[in-house]
Symmetry: C2
Subunit: 501 residues, 2 copies
């Protein structure tokens, strides 16, 4: 079976040819309790064969690893690892239902990190170093270096720091899928360099990931595509959110604060952010750029429509048709794209220097502008903070979007107090729901509450939330709250499955 | 009276000599509803005459301003302004009892900002531009530029962007107090530059603040010193905190993660942070440096003891004896100090590049590592977030310190859930109380809870907090909580003035 997969012309470095093994053989090279650093960022460029083979091995053996990736993995890899108890610790992000359950049952120790910071923590020795890196590649050059596929994530640093490396060559990624990557690895302290990026188009690294060939313990061939993204069509709510936001940008242009090119855009993954970006299609906004983490379908639609000139990210996570279009027309898109390590795509330094407009999705936000991006009901992990904090903190504009209410309006996403804080009031400029937009810039907490309640809350909850705020004000304080009632909506939902009175 | 104050040899730019006015006259130049940008950072280098004269004017007239400073002001300036209803809006930081009460009574709209971000918000036009800048100086050079005194704060940008400028020359600051300042103003988007600082000693600006002489509407002379800092002597608790932290650093050195020079230190203002720094005196730690915001007495003690080589900050806020020593021996200290604008001292870019060890004070923290730096009881503002978030987010190590309990142990500073979040679990590495130290690096929330409860909680509260955690775990979840009980300590304190059962 392996032989059919092997394409020797993808390995221009001879000594690797003697290291070709099957995924099952590679899985046997991963010791119990190893720290594994694997490629993969929001389903893109992940290990399609070795990690699944390890999950299969863990079905038979009591064996488990610490798994560090770029972000979430595709297919059922995280699910299979979790189901077979193959994960001791997992970081920095995930988005899988089975793994989520294991995390919430505390069968997996999950460390939810800012996506820019995993490499920082590894460099500093704050977390255990990577024993084995597993990195998907399209090919190997004559020096043994590898060309990554649809994401970079943390792969460049995993490769540089791991004791051993397994390369997973994906023969479904065309050999010419080269030139859009810009790989680099930071120095250790105290000798850190400037990240010399001044526009989304700037390059500071190499198109390949540098590999010490001595560290390569196996080369595996695979022919499985990235799990395609599923993008929901814009609906009434996402269209309303998009409209509010585009109106806001239009006003900023009218007021001379921005031009129609805006500033480089970042958009979190998901249907709301994708719908917002799609809203730019055919609009007055031209020469747009992105400096983001995930490039979704909307990026390519905006390039096609002529509204966007360039997009920088750490991964390409798109639907099947968008992926096919990209591969078939790679030369057309090649000069308009860069993929970077996530410690660069999400670097605070670059985000502040470029003046990013960051658009991220909230699970819930409160009347003072604090945002919860990670927890349901205050205790259950959903996915993780991802890069939202990297962008929100340092952005030119920090925007969070969510629907005002959901589940037949039994859940209000605007609340007196969020049940978990991922982004504080200090880091949030604009909040948008389908009901409207709240511009919080320069406002004191009580002013924020007024505009959030007025513009963002669903009508079913407006009266009760306003009543909370009015009664809280009687108690005084800079940020009025009634501590014994602050979570009453969450408590009520736990009891009745509805936040409604 | 004015004549006695005037020292014409401090003005080397002739046209300013015609603009010398009294503080009262200067106060009359500030229109109602003006946005005033004033020098001053943690009591250092603030307006000693013009703002107080404006407060006096507001006693007679219904007149009020938006006041933006570097950080808190000294003497009774903020108190007098608040008492006379002279403040519409105040940002980005304060630490005055009278103003605090006005803020909590919502007579002043307070906007509590990361100290690095005020200039960002002004550049972007997110907040209204400065009409009048009031800046304390020691003298004026032959081009009309000014030498700031004991702080820079936001003064360089206020001077560059304000429509009008009032200079307040403080004749008690020696004329030779020159050479330690490094002033610079960022470009507007999209043309932001790299902040080219690679070590605390690097300079990127000018020793003076550039002034367009046409904008100067008044020069006022003053002879009032900065309000001296009052530093409490180390007590049992601060000594214990300092000891825990020094043991930790010692271990990091033993483990090869750091050298005895550590990495550049930042310490928040206050007695705990000061005591921690003082703990380095006569220790094994040598060639220490600081890249901080406020330089306190401990900085000078460490320079004197030979443990510290260099300190960079945005202000010098010291006791009277330390101040006198600095001025009398300025040549000795001059090459060991730099003062910078706070958007540079607190720049995320520089903090991450240098790998700062950030030590800040918490009001309370919770069992999962979230930190409250600003609010009492969930609703009342204490001072503000200051620069703690700038450092905590981007530091090599983010450390928060507080006493385990206070007020005859009626208040526990470690709680099931903090009543306000300023620093999320994602941004906190090490927590220290007098009881012990919790190293949270790489831990999942339930692991953090174990180590925090074990090491940091006061014995009077350990049983009840552990009981909360154990019962919360029964409900499951990544971050176990019992939402209806999460604030029970705060609610109990409101009712009984004690958090104890």
């Amino acid at each position: 079976m392996i032989k059919e997969l092997i394409q020797l012309d993808r390995i221009l470095f001879d000594s690797y040819k003697t290291k070709i093994i099957s995924a099952d053989e590679a899985a046997l090279l991963i010791p119990d309790k190893a720290v594994v650093g694997a490629s993969g960022f929001t389903k893109a460029g992940d290990s399609k064969s070795v990690l699944p083979a390890f999950a299969k091995r863990a079905k038979e053996e009591e064996i488990a690893i610490t798994l560090i990736t770029g972000a979430s993995l595709g297919h059922t890899t995280d699910a299979d690892l979790a189901a077979n108890h193959a994960l001791i610790r997992r970081m920095p992000f995930q988005a899988d239902g089975t793994l989520r359950k294991s995390i919430n049952d505390y069968q997996v120790k999950y460390v939810d990190q800012h996506l820019s910071e995993t490499v920082e923590q590894l460099i500093c020795g704050h977390i255990a170093p990577v024993d084995i890196a597993i990195i998907e590649a399209s090919s190997v050059d004559e020096n043994g270096n590898i060309y990554p596929t649809t994401s970079i994530g943390n792969s460049a640093f995993f490769a540089a720091s791991a004791k051993k490396i397994i390369i997973e060559i994906n023969t479904l990624v065309p050999k010419n899928f080269i030139g859009i990557h810009d790989n680099t690895v930071p120095n250790s302290y105290p000798d850190r360099d400037v990240i010399n990026i001044h526009t989304p188009t700037d390059r500071i690294g190499t198109p390949y990931i540098s590999i010490d060939p001595e560290k390569v313990i196996g080369v595996v061939f695979t022919d499985i595509l990235d799990q395609p993204a599923v993008i929901a069509e814009p609906d009434e709510k996402t269209t309303a959110i998009s409209k509010h936001l585009l109106n806001f940008f239009e006003k900023e242009v009218q007021n001379g604060k921005l031009t129609y090119a805006l500033l480089p855009l970042q958009a979190g993954i998901g249907k709301v952010a994708n719908a917002v970006l799609t809203g730019f299609k055919g609009s007055n906004f031209k020469n747009l750029t992105m400096y983001s983490e995930v490039l979704q379908d909307s990026t390519f639609e905006l390039i096609d429509s002529g509204n966007m000139d360039f997009a920088s990210g750490s991964s390409i996570t798109v639907t099947e048709s968008c992926y096919t279009n990209l591969l078939n027309n790679f030369e057309k898109y090649k000069d308009k794209l860069i993929l970077r390590p996530q410690n660069i795509s999400n670097a605070p330094e670059v985000i502040r220097r470029l003046g990013i407009i960051g658009i991220n999705t909230a699970i819930e936000f409160d009347i003072y502008g604090n945002v919860n991006s990670t927890h349901i009901g205050g205790n259950k992990m959903m996915n993780g903070i991802g890069g939202s904090g990297d962008f929100a903190r340092n952005a030119y504009l920090s925007i969070f979007v969510t629907q005002a209410a959901s589940k037949e309006n039994n859940i209000s996403h605007v609340l007196p107090m969020v049940s978990h804080v991922d982004h504080t009031e200090h880091d949030v400029d604009i909040l948008v729901t389908d009901q409207g937009l709240a511009d919080l810039r320069g406002l004191a907490p009580r002013e924020r509450a007024e505009v959030i309640i007025e513009n963002c809350v669903h009508p079913d909850y407006k009266e009760e939330i306003r009543d909370y705020f009015e009664r809280a004000k009687q108690r005084g304080g800079h940020t009025p709250h009634i501590m014994e009632e602050a979570f009453k909506f969450h408590v009520r939902f736990n009891e009745t499955k509805s936040m409604k009175k």
